[in-house]
Amino acid sequence: MDFLEKIETDLSAAFIQNGYIVQACENLSALDKIRNKTVDLATNFLGVPYPTDAGEFLDEIVSLVPVKKLNSFRLHIISGLMAEPWFREAYFSCASSLVKTIVGNELVMQRNIGLSIQLPGDNSSLLPLHSDSWGSECSPFEVVLWIPLVDCYRTKSMFILPPDADAKWRERVQEFSGAGTESLYQAIEPELEWLEVPYGKVVLFTPTIVHGNRINQESTTRWSMNIRFKGLFTPYSDKRLGEYFAPIAVRAASKIGMKFTMPGGFDE
């Protein structure tokens, strides 16, 4: 018996079937604020004036940032965003209804930010194919909210292996044990989906399925952020509550339950 509303049922079915959902950002002004702050931090680092077109500036950043400075540039932006008290709530608001539908309404959120900046042709910022649950301390109960700051498509985006194909290849991963992830990529490549996500849309996906990126062969730079969410009381792995995740929604019944103590002192 299922008391979910139809829209929740439909979204849930699509998420399970496809491994992801792409939808319009639920709070575009929050996303614009995040992007504008990102541009502000970038211009401060580079010592250039604030541009008239934020999206175009980010797309063309390759002309201003050499590869050898890319990581310090990226870390500067990450620490600047994390220092803003409004950032985490703004990020969550971009897909809060979707996250609640897919995960639940008692939530924890990753405390830091994942920020990918993939310059065209650059092989220094690659994330080879992987499922987060195969390693990286991740629980299969997590979801990732992936938000681009520019239009993303083809190799300027990320790929996923749809759940049916993922299940099939998961049974065969051991065949590549001595050959490495590149040979596994070549084998699954025909079945991969590259996510088309223009600015103003967000992706929620399950990182249990194989995903990753390749060298960006487009002419403009990919900028995307990723932050994980999971249910407050769903099993954690070694990305633990405390140092990795923080509660963002704890309901009254849980607060009461956690503090409840039975009467004691009885002597049998």
């Binding site: 405390r111 009381f233 099993p235 954690y236 792995s237 405390g242």
Partner: protein, 165 residues
């Protein structure tokens, strides 16, 4: 009677000889975390006090609490070193804040500077204390047999004198 002005200087580190959330961190590693946290947050770090290994023992922590009049605060290696009993934790928060000090938790990057922040500290601790009652005991095991991942320990067994207590 003239008032004696005591200058409050620095943050005392606090590490432990017991596992934290089931993991035994070497003292050296705990100190790295505490010192790195202090450096990044521009806190004047004072040599860590190290809690004894006996379960439930907080003697060294209470020694640090008596130092509060001379300190700006305490840097715990982890929030989850605080006592399990809520009453004791609440007394500790009150004592630290009442002394005009701060309580930092380096691993979790959390800081207690005023009463309104106690709820956040407590929520974190209470959820973790309740996780064992959640599905799968709140923890997803990556291997059906954890020992399968521990082949280095298994390989060492012939060289460990198992007769020594």
């Amino acid at each position: 009677m003239s008032e004696e002005l005591i200058q409050k200087l620095g943050y005392r580190g606090y590490i432990t000889s017991r596992p934290v959330r089931g993991i035994s961190y070497p003292h050296r590693v705990q100190n790295l975390v505490v010192r790195d946290y202090a450096t990044r947050h521009n806190l004047d770090y004072k040599l860590s006090a190290t809690e004894y290994a006996m379960p439930g023992c907080y003697m060294m922590f209470y020694d640090v609490l008596t130092e509060l009049p001379q300190l700006e605060g305490i840097i715990l290696f982890s929030l989850f070193m605080l006592p399990q009993k809520t009453k004791l934790r609440l007394e500790i928060y009150d004592r630290i804040l009442g002394a005009g000090c701060e309580l930092h938790a380096a691993l979790e990057e959390m800081v207690l500077q005023e009463k309104s922040e106690i709820e956040y500290f407590e929520t974190m601790i209470q959820v973790v204390l309740n996780l064992p009652k959640a599905p799968m005991g709140g923890y997803y095991h990556k291997s059906e047999d954890p020992k399968l991942n521990n082949f280095f320990l298994e390989a060492m067994r012939p060289t460990i004198d198992m007769s020594v207590e």
